[in-house]
Symmetry: C2
């Protein structure tokens, strides 16, 4: 696949949701920059402003936070056709509280706040797309929050593998533990229990 092919993934994605003209497709394609990232690389980091919004074309990423005890907490794993970033930081310029790290070699389309503003001026329709995207993020997070405080770890684990079958092949187990909000030893013990 070449650059044009990768960008077509994005414009197809948008077209499916909004119906955009060929001209708009070109504007969008030229507003985004194609980047590839190596395993373990950090695309943005906690403490610095996040000036990147990412549309994943290929690969796997994790978005995580390090708390003041030094513990990591995975907020989400990202796969192809996902938007990832730290919206708060991207829009306000304040330091991010999140890290975006590559788990499997990734190809993504990225944009910075200035370019995004220009793009939105040229294709105002996209306002709606991004609003829907935020809304979706919010309702996903809300569900996750409610699940986290109302169900125990085994239930959350089963829910995760049902919702994302194959995730155990893509992501090391200690990071799944971190996503579930428990320690690797606990997940290990729990899986043993579940086998009964």
């Amino acid at each position: 696949m070449n650059e044009a092919d990768y960008k077509k993934v994005l414009t197809d994605y948008i077209d499916k949701r909004l119906n955009i003209s060929e001209e708009e497709k070109e504007i969008i394609a030229s507003s985004y920059t194609l980047k590839s990232f190596q395993k373990k690389e950090h695309i943005f980091s906690q403490g610095k402003p996040c000036s990147i919004e990412t549309f994943v074309v290929k690969g796997t990423l994790r978005l995580y936070h390090v708390d003041n005890k030094g513990q990591e907490h995975v907020l989400l794993f990202a796969f192809p056709e996902w938007w990832v970033g730290d919206m708060a930081s991207f829009n306000t310029g304040e330091p991010s509280s999140l890290n975006l790290q590559v788990l499997e070699e990734t190809i993504a389309l990225v944009i910075d706040p200035t370019e995004k503003e220009v793009l939105l001026k040229k294709v105002p329709k996209l306002e709606r797309l991004f609003r829907l995207m935020i809304q979706k993020n919010l309702s996903v997070l809300q569900k996750r929050f409610l699940l986290t405080i109302s169900a125990n770890a085994s239930y959350r684990y089963l829910e995760l593998i049902e919702r994302s079958p194959g995730i155990e092949q893509l992501v090391p187990q200690h990071q799944i533990a971190s996503y579930l909000g428990i320690h690797p030893e606990s997940l290990s013990r729990m899986k043993k229990q579940l086998l009964k």
Copy 2:
């Protein structure tokens, strides 16, 4: 205070963030309906579509979810100048998973999806206001989520009363427990511990 005064709270709120003309103020004021709600009343409920978005002018509310074990979980308490609703349901018409209940007699300005769409057509500027509102909601929820999985209940309790001083006067303790994700007995025990 009369109806016009209450609506002025909203238009002032918006003017502070967007700079709107007198004419726009009038359109906004006439798009919202003033309602008052009695203590314990439910403004919308789980299982039914939520066709109301609320701007609180006076009073206290709680937004909560009942899980499949019948346990209630408070997502947030709402105070004057807050927007409350279930965005997912409001925008898609799908059944809500949340309940909005009045804790103290409340006066609010409400709008339904159709009226809101009309309003947005008349005053497109507001798109931005609502996008900022969602973004803010998202980053608040994200912070809350990370705190919930990285800190214990006493830390979360202290954080809450520091962030919302006076909340203990406004909200019964068992609902604060529910907000913290613990049982009333645990909060009671915890407070005793903290006195040392």
